[in-house]
Amino acid sequence: MSRRVPWTFIVFLVALSVPFLGSRFHTFVATDIVILALFAMSLNLLLGYTGLVSFGHAAYFGIGAYTCALLMKSVAAPFLPSLLAGGLMAAAFALVFGFFCVRLTKIYFAMLTLAFAQIVWAICFKWNDVTGGEQGLPNVPYPELGWMASLPLLDGFRAGDHFYLVVLAIVAVCFAVLHRIVDSPFGRVLTIIRDNSERAQFVGVNLRAYELAAFAVAGFFAGISGALFGIFNRGVFPDFAYWTKSAEPLIMTILGGAGNFWGPAVGAFAVIVLNQQVTSYTEYWPFVMGVILIILLFVFPAGIVGTLAALAARVRPRTKSATLVGPDVVDRHA
């Protein structure tokens, strides 16, 4: 048995090195990827782990973004408490909306999540006094990160680089927490709900309670990613809660692989990098994306990570069987 490669650590180091080695543009793209990776990973708690398809995940992204932006802009609240408030507000709304959604199943569940998300969007779009209506809330202030310039190695950096490092740290913590959650007994119960909800009920699982809890946790992390995105984007807009925004993490998750913990993050990376590359050649980016998705769904339904994992598994047992199952062992079984 070869030792496991610490992929997570390697990827983290690579991500950390972006502002040191790359250009300002690279840092910009990396920030986008890291924030949307969290958005997609939060959705995967529902899609990949609990087996719930949500078409309205943008609602919690938007609620987190507006909450954090309003606090920082109107009340000049500090960054971290505002961020946390964004996550908690999103989770609170997820609890309320989820209470109704988990009473329905399958496509009805999905449609109701979409309906709630459209309500959130409509409120953001029309409640001019608070949300700025169609114009949104521009000029959301950057967090006060001047102190980072006094740290060794970081003095030459711009505010955007500082913010990227803060985002990376926050998202890394969120990923660690999510990983812990899916590995916990709670996470195991979610996977048995996904696998067979009828049987899960008859080992003592209160379906609705667990689905609601998963919904709220997913809402919390979507809220955090929305809050970060609002600051990164220097403004929040009703689009954040629009249904096309709900499709983004779905596409990322399916592209990356819903069955794998890191699938959605890989999907976020792939979608954003492809977007950057393809838009520089052609304006028909959505067309290219559509073709890629169709090919993927038919040829690699397990997504990028799922396909790579299957390939790795196919290579590994071959070496293993060559060393373990010698001719004498085969003889004894025959």
């Binding site: 195991r188 119960v189 009920q201 008859f202 080992v203 003592g204």
Partner: protein
Amino acid sequence: MLEVRGLSKSFNGFTAVDRVSLSVKRGEIAAMIGPNGAGKSTLFNLITGHLQPDEGQILLEGRDITGAPPHRICKMGMGRSFQRTNIFPKLTVFENVQAAFISNRGRGRNFWARSADLYRAETNALLGSLGLRDQAEVTAGELSHGARKQVELGIALACDPEILLLDEPTAGMSAAETHETIRLLETVAAERRLTLLFTEHDMEVVFSIAQRIGVLHQGRLIAEGKPEVVQRDPNVRRVYLGERR
């Protein structure tokens, strides 16, 4: 142990279960037989809370459980297996049984512990007694039909039931597998002092282990009692035993 009083259920005017009353004593092995469509599965789904009865009452050790949700009934000491094998196909055999331990003992609320090491000893012991030890790391959905039935039994037993309802435990099994499964059920029931209520189409199985038999026909309980009595009942002979062969 289990008492059912005047239970009825109809679907769009079709009466699937019609005023059925029965009682199962602690430690008893009881069978429910009847032709296809007689209402056996519906009766089981009513007792286990998957369906709500239109009328009647279900008592588990004297406590009224009529209309309670399945997860609560399960925690009150009732286990069940399903007619179509009902397991967690993408998890390993070990995880299937371990998950049942985790949820039944209320550990699922824990967001922070590591699930991998929970109930390891209990799970391995149970897998051992079911003869699934060697397949512990196999993905459950890839097992043979017979082995999947064993996994399902493992899931049911992990909930530490006092009464176990088995819907066709040997459906789709070969003669040898059937024999083995019935042996296993008998041993397990004796070891754990389990009360068993099962449905079965194989008459040989029924008459070999059941201490009491109820016969359902068109939703109604037409006979009930010791195997010898049921076997001699003219009604049963007419609608059921005669019809089978």
